[in-house]
Amino acid sequence: MAQRAVWLISHEPGTPLCGIVRFSRRYPTVEKRAKVFNGATYVPIPEDGPFLKALLFKLRLLDGDTDFVESRDGCSRINKTSVYGLPVESEEIWPVVAFLKNGIIYACVPLVEQTLSPCPPLISISGISQGFELLFGLQDFLYSGQKNEAELNTKLNQLPDLLLHSCPFGTLLDANLQNTLDGVNFASVSQPQKQPAWKVGAYKGKPQVSISITEKVKSMQYDKRDIADMWQVVGVVTCKCDLEGVMPNVTISLSLPTNGSPLQDILVHPCVTSLDSAILTSSSIDSMDDSAFSGPYKFPFSPPLESFNLCYYTSQVPVPPILGFYQMKEEEVQLKVTVNLKLHESVKNNFEFCEAHIPFYNRGPITHLEYKVSFGQLEIFREKSLLIWIIGQKFPKSMEINLSGTVTFGAKTHEKQPFDQICIGGTAYVKLHFRILDYTLTGCYADQHSVQVFAPGKPKISTPPLSKVSKLQLWISDGSGHIPSPPPG
């Protein structure tokens, strides 16, 4: 379950190596075990330079790397997980857990406690999930609250010290590096017994609990008889509990309005101590019936010090918040487009922002545009072949708005214009981005009275404003292209 080595690599296209190893750490005691366990199939951990090159090649992140190379592009070189075999100096190092996020490649090599030939299934290697946890932990640490390169560098500089505490010998002790950082700075003379390892020290001060619920909706609308539209709400409940005592107990109940759509696919934070089996089994992958559990959803837990996501859920609300219609018609050199949007009456008409992006892929720059909008304004990005319809804070009283226009495109130059493999010919989409304040689509809420706290003092309980960020995509196709349709039900 240990790691042999871990790397953070920034992907820097345009530089000679296309990347820089920002951090790396090797674990020689684990390496020694690997040598014994892997026997004749043992491949040593390469130095940073060769590793960087092999990884970037594998992940297809090298500049100008367009030729067919069998070791990567061969049809039998199928990768179905973020775990790779990297050819380094005529040998292959496996398993390398690696993924790219925000321009940083996170990579590690877990110890496999057996021979590597035949390749054991990943599920049998305990170090794989531990490796993922380490990399996710690093990612959370680097990007929580980080705004710019300087802050990233500060955090990268803290890593050697932090890993000395959270992963001294390659076996991960805590994936929450912020917690480790707090622990390094917190030295108590008399640590109480039974102090959870995920909580360094205890809170001292005025007790308070705050809970917020954020929902996002994702919808795909096709306006086609044979393809069903899709929409799904994803919610997250975030808590911050400032309570005294080593292990205060808290129970939060989430409730739904009458006839509200039940919460499904609930995933909880590890600090939740027990879970009703109805919560565990409520899932969107089973067919719905009326007997579905609809709350209240009780979550007893002992909170960590920091703010944390108590649970995630999804829900299938009866209608999408905005219904859309998109039409595109090619007339010689011109393209006629029509977009209609209708806000559902049950939805609060109070947006922080709302805008529709209308991209035109695989075409030249926009040279000419004639349009009419019933509401809002249209911004034109000629070079990017993009229209943005800024709808603003409110839909008009009719709740319905529309745009129509004729677009003419110039000659296509490959480098500049956006490429998309799906939006070919008559296939295209409009993407709607919006945020509604103080509103949840499911109507899910945690009222103050439902929060039970077993800790000294009477805490102040707040449920700050809720917000909802959403994306909604309207797809059309004239049949010449393939719409990324959902699978048959």
Partner: protein, 877 residues
């Protein structure tokens, strides 16, 4: 050298990290390890710098101290530094403990004879048990941190030497119950417990009350660590594998061990103690604990896995990758004993949910999807080790897991695999359904092909399309309803974008004939129906080299003729020639000979012309099988990137002569028919069929004129052949012939073998005198006899006779040369010795054991040879 400054160290460490091997090979490398150890005690360096030095030793001990004595010395030095620290708070104690542990464990110095090990272990145990170790160990504020650190170090030592701390089980239990940090102690206890159980089980011993012993680390005569349990070398490490419990048969006889009731109870109590406190551990540490306890209890009698059950609901509710993975490990370890069918269904649904939950990151989705397809089922139907859709996971549950074009390549392939497995299973059920998974699969593949057909589209898209197609072919090879549209679709894709030829070639190499054959046919038709001169000629030629065969040769040649006019550069010419080569290999054809001859004259590049000529010659001179071998892929060089080099190597193998052991025997046979000169009759016997055999002879010295080679088209074992080898001696003397054989094996390889030297005896040169017109007779002999002198020489030799007597001797050896005789009493023998000598023998008045021979020759040099010959005759009988 005095201590280095902070900046110098920073530079040095930077240079080292950039490439440790290069740095250590350089001038600065040698002293790095010792400088580092000494500067750790320098008062000029800040603690921060020293920590960075220690971090380096944690990562690269093998480079700094490459052997066990050096590692031992380094560990001792690190421990000295630790002891010498002033009793104020310091950030160095923890890294020093880690560094000493690393140096010993990684450097192979850990052992009963190591002094540093003997110092480190009691120190760690003392720290772990929270005892006051005196003023050297800093302020109380550091005690908790050091206690945890000591546990970590002990855990690492135990990992590297399983069983080492078996004697501490009781102590650790006590510590966990009363004091001490929960997580480090729990993990250490669980690891020691697991290892001790394994080691004891292998030794056939019981826990021997280790669980209840409360030995103290002060050492009451015996130390709590046990090198005998830890075993020699790394023996125990090897035995732990494999790590996946289900992969192992019968738990290696652990079950056979009958524990005492007391031991069973104690063991259960320890496990319960660990599990009860597991909530206090971080999620990743909880997962480690579950893996360890699962390993420890698997197959052990009297240990119901129900102990784990109270934890499961809590664990199943989380989205934590490590925790769900640990639950799966328990599932694999205990199967039905812990998970009923309903439990299994629930676990599968949680996995299916986690594999698509929008709140989780894509790498986690992919791992969960892998877990679904490798799920340790209670009653698996298929063979173990192969990915399959679990029985309890119906199409309904997989609805959200199906692929879409919007997915990234990894997700698309993972989900496509699931779709293929479901399609393969549900063939019967879905007949007649309009929106069947099969149809969806077809549309998806169509979409992928359309995406990769885009001109200028990225390579990744094409790769994805072909990988997806390959996955489908692999899973659904027996389903023509899937393969037929796939074949047509791919053929259309080539039509749209010939630049994908490398993908097609690779794809055709991998797939079986059920798809490969029809696809090849379609692609060939597509290529040859084109004009030769379009911009994609390079790709067409590459494609054609893969798909040509005996069929439609005339159309292929028509295309090639048209293409040849456009092959204006070297690489295109080579591509064209590769197609010719493939055609040759497929069996040639009449038109090809002409075409190659045309190319040999027409191509611009001399290399191309040479190649064409070579192919022409090969086609004209080699029969089918040999041609196939000459051009076929070589086993010697299976994977070379350059086809040119590969081709060169193939030829080299097929056409270059290989040295071999002689597979044939050559001997001098009986004297045969007469000729104008001496002829050696050779008998040739082969041990294996040989083709185109050529025997080359070389005479030692200048005694004979050079000999011509002998050719044998085919030599079959068991059927010896007689050969005539005409000799042209320059002097009448015996010699030895050096013989080499050149032949082709049935495998088509041309070989060369050196045969044992072949003796040419004096008698092999004997020729009879041509018959004079008046016939031979005493007169003729007397004439010859008289003519030898005076230039010649005369001698008398005693020729011993065997039991057969003179008559038999003459008839056996001299019969052809007898010119006058009065058998059995006297014989006159006249022998011609090429090039121009004669030897005359007169044998008469034979006695019981020999015959006196009078001999005359016109060449005195022949006399000793003749004497030896005669004296040796009886022995030769």
């Amino acid at each position: 050298m005095g201590p280095l400054s902070r900046e110098t160290w920073a530079q040095r460490l930077g240079a080292f990290r950039a490439s440790p091997s290069a740095f250590m090979a350089g001038p600065e490398g040698e002293g790095l390890g010792s400088d580092l150890l000494s500067d750790l005690r320098s008062e000029k360096l800040s603690e921060h710098t020293k920590v960075s030095l220690l971090t380096l030793t944690l990562e690269f001990p093998a480079q700094l101290w490459p052997d066990a004595p050096a590692a031992e010395a380094a560990a001792s030095s690190l421990l000295d530094t630790l002891v010498l620290l002033p009793p104020r708070p310091s950030a160095l104690r923890r890294p020093l403990l880690l560094a000493a542990t690393t140096a010993l464990a990684a450097g192979g110095a850990l052992g009963p004879t190591s002094g540093a090990s003997g110092r480190l272990l009691p120190l760690l145990l003392g720290l772990a048990s929270g005892r006051d170790l005196g003023r050297g160990f800093g302020p109380a504020s550091e005690q908790h941190l050091l206690q945890a650190t000591a546990c970590e170090c002990l855990r690492e030592l135990e990992s590297c030497k399983p069983g080492l701390l078996g004697g501490c089980l009781g102590l650790l239990r006590g510590l966990l119950r009363h004091e001490g940090p929960v997580q480090p102690l729990s993990l250490l206890l669980a690891l020691v417990l697991r290892n001790t159980l394994e080691v004891q089980a292998r030794a056939g011993a019981s826990l021997q009350g280790l669980l209840v012993a409360s030995n103290s680390p002060t050492g009451d005569g015996h130390s709590p660590w046990d090198w005998t349990l830890a075993g020699e070398g790394d023996a125990h490490l090897q035995a732990q594998a494999p790590s996946w419990p289900a992969a192992e048969e019968g738990g290696r006889g652990l079950a056979a061990l009958e524990p005492s009731p007391e031991e069973t109870r104690e063991l259960r109590a320890v496990v319960a103690q660990l599990l009860d406190a597991s909530y206090l551990l971080t999620p990743v540490a909880q997962a480690q604990l579950l893996w360890l306890l699962g390993w420890a209890l698997r197959g052990r009698r009297g240990q119901p896995p129900a102990l784990f059950k109270p934890q499961l609901v809590r664990l199943l509710g989380t989205a934590q990758l490590a925790l769900l993975h640990a639950v799966l490990a328990l599932k694999a370890a205990f199967g039905e004993a812990m998970f009923t069918t309903q439990d299994e269904a629930l676990l599968l649904r949680r996995l299916a949910l986690a594999a698509q939950h929008p709140a989780l990151p894509p790498p986690a989705h992919l791992f969960y999807l892998h877990c679904l397809l490798s799920f340790p089922e209670n009653w698996p139907l298929g063979p173990t080790g192969e990915e399959a859709a679990p029985l309890l996971l119906g199409p309904q549950q997989c609805r959200g897991l199906l692929p879409s074009l919007l997915h990234d390549p990894l997700s698309l392939l993972a989900r496509l695999h699931l779709l293929c497995l479901l399609s393969a299973e549900n063939e019967e059920e879905e007949e007649g359904q309009v929106q069947s998974p099969r149809r969806y699969l077809e549309e998806l593949l169509g979409g992928l092909r359309q995406m990769s057909a885009l001109e200028g589209g990225p390579r990744a898209l094409a790769t994805l399309c072909f990988q997806a197609s390959y996955l489908v072919v692999r899973c659904l090879a027996g389903h023509p309803t899937v393969l037929t549209p796939l074949t047509h679709g791919l053929a259309q894709l080539y039509q749209a974008r010939p630049a994908l030829a490398p993908h097609f070639v690779d794809f055709l190499d991998r797939v079986g004939p059920e798809l490969g054959k029809p696809l090849k046919g379609m692609l060939r038709e597509q290529v040859v129906s084109r004009e030769g001169g379009d911009g994609a000629l390079r790709w067409h030629l590459q494609m054609l080299a893969t798909v040509v065969d005996r069929d439609a040769q005339s159309a292929t040649l028509r295309f090639l003729r048209a293409a040849a006019a456009h092959c204006t550069d070297w690489s295109l010419e080579q591509a064209l020639l590769r197609v010719c080569r493939a055609l040759l290999w497929a069996g040639g054809g009449d038109g090809l000979v002409d075409f190659l001859q045309e190319l040999a004259g027409q191509l611009e590049d001399p290399d191309g012309r040479d190649h064409a000529r070579l192919y022409y010659i090969l086609l004209a001179h080699l029969a089918g099988p040999k041609l196939g071998v000459a051009l076929g892929p070589s086993l010697a060089a299976p994977a070379l990137t350059s086809s040119l080099v590969a081709e060169n190597q193939d030829f080299a193998t097929a056409l270059t002569v290989q040295a071999a052991l002689p597979p044939l025997r050559l001997s001098v046979g009986p004297r045969g028919a007469e000729g104008p000169g001496p002829v050696l009759q050779l008998q040739l016997e082969a041990q294996e069929p040989l083709y185109s055999l050529e025997l080359r002879f070389r005479v030692e010295g200048q005694l004979y004129a050079p000999l011509g080679a002998v050719h044998v088209p085919y030599l079959c074992p068991g059927r010896p052949r007689l050969l005539r080898l005409p000799l042209q001696p320059r002097r009448p003397a015996p010699t030895r012939l050096d013989v080499r054989a050149l032949y082709t094996t049935p495998a088509g390889l041309t070989c060369h073998a050196q045969l044992p030297p072949l003796p040419v005896d004096f008698a092999n040169l004997f020729l009879p005198f041509p018959r004079p017109p008046g016939g031979t007779g005493p007169g003729f002999f007397e004439e010859l006899w008289a003519s030898c002198l005076p230039q010649g020489a005369e001698s008398r030799v005693w020729c011993p006779l065997g039991p057969q007597g003179l008559e038999a001797l003459v008839s056996r050896h001299l019969e052809p040369f007898v010119v006058a005789a009065q058998p059995p009493a006297s014989y006159s023998v006249a022998i011609r010795l090429p090039p121009a000598s004669r030897l005359l023998l007169r044998l008469e008045a034979a006695q019981a054991d020999g015959v006196p021979v009078a001999l005359r020759t016109d060449d005195w040099a022949v006399l000793p040879l003749a004497g030896d010959y005669l004296r040796g005759l009886s022995a030769a009988v």
